[in-house]
Symmetry: C2
Subunit: 200 residues, 2 copies
């Protein structure tokens, strides 16, 4: 049976960005069916009472250092955006809108959005900024902007966030492998081990 | 130059217990000078505003599952104690008192205390309970109990906690390798990589 990996992430999550660099290869190595599922951590935090990592005393400073260190180890460009945290609503809506039409291109858009913000330090908060990134992939920016205001698209994102919380997701990145939850970029080794061994 | 690894942990930390199973071997593989340094997370959390992991919505359930899963992978016995969180003041004082006299035996006591609570599910909160574990190592229980009320021992623990916070420590386990901080049991691979490569 094909294994299922759900990859939950927030477009404003630096560790989600790092995970996005290697998650496709990881799933492919094990022939797993991978689903990219953007969520809104802000909405999740309202339910869990958590706060953005980089705002916390001591932990915040450590996190910034650790993110940069992880990126260096992976050989990945990493820029901390000027505005942080930022709203990832527009980016997430664009993803699900496109996913209805072309899942592969939706994944390409997710990577391009992540690269724009954490690779290049651009803002991807405003609808125009998301549309511009989509335009660089050959999509029509005005269709993207219109989609961001579509009630069905808005409802889809809300449903996705609710379903994620119902599944126990509370952070980014978060992986569910055939029902088994793994939280954090630093758990990708365990995700891989779980796929390889079928669990322990 | 010999590398220095400071291993900070709280005796009430399940992930600290897991880290304690392999940290000696890790340091030995790289000829590093390892210091076991118990701290009081409760005192640290007062400064950082953090809360015990297992009390948090969603995160708490995940953490319990993850701890058991990590223990299974390591092949380590793991029991979640009935009373949690619990005070680790007595255990920590006993460690530093003994460390002044015999560092190797202090480390043996730390392992025995961790094993009692997370391996066997015994309480190590009360002075008598700590003294009993020390007694099983051949120490005199009444000397241990007296030491727990010694103003110098109390002051030593306070100084250790303050020094840890000043060094940026905010969780357990926490490692500082020649000035480089690593937080979490799941960062021990990075600690090892840092020791091997000298950093990146």
């Amino acid at each position: 049976m094909t294994k299922q990996v759900d990859f939950y992430f927030d477009f404003s999550s630096p560790y989600g960005y790092l995970a996005a660099q290697t998650v496709d290869d990881l799933a492919e190595r094990h022939g797993a069916d991978l689903r990219w599922r953007p969520i809104l951590l802000g909405a999740v935090f309202k339910k869990t009472g958590a706060a953005p990592l980089v705002d916390l005393p001591l932990k915040g400073d450590y996190a910034r250092r650790d993110m940069a260190r992880c990126a260096r180890r992976l050989g990945v460009t990493f820029t901390f955006p000027e505005t942080f945290p930022f709203s990832s609503v527009a980016a997430s809506r664009a993803f699900y809108w496109l996913h209805e039409r072309d899942p592969a291109q939706a994944r390409a858009l997710a990577k391009a959005l992540y690269h724009a913000v954490f690779g290049e330090g651009r803002s991807i908060e405003a609808p125009e900024e998301v549309a511009a990134v989509a335009g660089e992939l050959g999509l029509d920016p005005s269709s993207v902007k219109a989609a961001l205001e579509d009630p069905e698209v808005k409802a889809r994102l809300r449903q996705e966030v609710e379903a994620a919380v119902a599944a126990g997701v509370f952070g980014s990145p978060f992986f569910i492998v055939d029902g088994e939850p793994f939280w954090g970029h630093d758990r990708m080794d365990e995700v891989e081990r779980w796929l390889r061994t079928g669990g322990w």
